[in-house]
Amino acid sequence: MSRRAVIAGVGHTAFGKLPERTSWDLEVEAARAAVADACMSPSEIDGLLTDPGPVQGVLDGITPHFLRLGAQLGLNPNYTGSEILGGAGSVAIVERAALAVEAGLCDACLCVYGDSALSAGSAYTYGRGDESAFGFFGAVGLHALAAQRHIHTYGTRPEHFGEVVVAARAHGVRTPHAQKRRAISMDDYLVSDPVVEPLRRLDCCLVSDGAAAVLVTTEERAADLPCPAISLLGHAQAHSLSTYASPDHFESLPAAHCGPKALAQAGITASDIDVAMLYDCFTIVVLLQLEDYGFCKKGESGSFVEGGRIGPGGTLPVNPSGGLLAEGYGGGMLHVIEAVRQLRGDAGARQVPDAELALVSGHGLGMNTHATLVLGRNV
């Protein structure tokens, strides 16, 4: 027993359109749920880290997000802050919480994501600085550049992108809280409206109101708790901030750097992973990660996903809760939560048999940020 950090509790709200709710009260609900799930007491919480989500974090500029939530929760923690890394933020704050707990900065750190992106509207259509003069808008236009490169370089077909969302929606059918619970066919994908070609509407993730929270504490404290603790076996971040100036910015993700590092720290390789919780803001990001994490060779993700390999019952289940494409936009925190549920054996109809090792990723902003966690059942 040591100060080794574990995940002891998880919780989230409903995801979808919740116009009567504010991100703030959603975050409070998720925070309470995570502490209750751990069977811990609010008085034990002495750390608070937050990921303010796309509307609160990226569009409103720097807001004291942790302060507003911490005040409502009556916390005077030993460690706090907000992380604005776009879609890598949630995974990054869980990593930061684990480091803080292991360093003794705090004993029980609550990590909260929340946003009202759907009710706020147009969260992903913002202009990109001077480039909006050329009509360069939103996350979809940026990821279209990566998709176009993949098609050009490797001959990736529309059906390969389609496989990713068909799998996600099939997973969503088995997830009671998923925002989209209806399966779609490849034909549905192929007739989906183009947004920024080559990306179609169905290549793009959902927009949601909702909040999700994870509680990180010491292995020692978790030993007394009823729920099995989930260990952080490896973690790393890598970022590509130079964007266009970086020669391979649209060819591969920083996952190619932080993925092998996190896996090596856990003493495993990609082929040992039972459940891959891959950040899936766009289908192309899943394809790139399958390559960059080493689940398949560079350029071969299209053929890798054929035949339902990443869908329910596939050899590599990706995002069994449905992910951002079906479960709802949870900033990456829902990915952490699903990994915990799968490793606890607590995922109901979508349980991946004998899941012992999970990889969780977060990816954000202009394909700039990336964070990786390797989680395992605490044995």
Binding site: A133, R149, V196
Partner: protein, 141 residues
């Protein structure tokens, strides 16, 4: 027509990028050059992103480049910019990459690696460096 077309979003120059937009007004394309390592880069800023030197000068650009990647916007994000249009990441022959538009051909005809040349077009108060298809380098001479 009583209503003029809405003005598209305008660049917001700062002290470092103002010379770039001023050059566009003169139908000229320029980047920043590092006096220490020779790196030619966009957008201009307070230091060279390669060696961090603050000794910078102007790097005149030929206006020739290639499509590095592109997307065809099938929906409009701004009333002043009706769809369809092409946003491309243009790789200039001097090295820097620049987000711009490919004009002068059908969106469906744009290809990665397609040779381009700059075409200056007014947009509100600004002149934007857009790009049009050019003949292959070998065929030009």
């Amino acid at each position: 027509m009583s209503d003029a077309a809405p003005t598209p979003p305008q660049p917001q120059p700062d002290a470092y990028t103002q010379p770039f937009w001023d050059a566009c007004q003169r139908q000229s394309l320029e980047a920043a050059r590092c006096e220490d390592c020779g790196h030619c880069f966009l957008p201009p800023g307070p230091c060279c992103p390669q060696c961090w030197s603050a000794e910078l000068s102007v790097c005149p650009l030929s206006g020739r480049g290639r499509v590095y990647s592109f997307g065809i916007y099938r929906r409009s994000y701004h009333p002043g910019l009706p769809a369809p249009y092409v946003v491309a990441l243009v790789e200039l022959e001097e090295g820097p990459r620049l987000v711009s538009n490919v004009v002068g051909c059908m969106p469906e005809d744009v290809r990665i690696d397609m040779p381009l040349r700059v075409r200056f077009e007014a947009s509100g108060e600004f002149v934007l460096p857009r790009f049009e298809p050019a003949e292959e380098e070998g065929a030009r001479r």
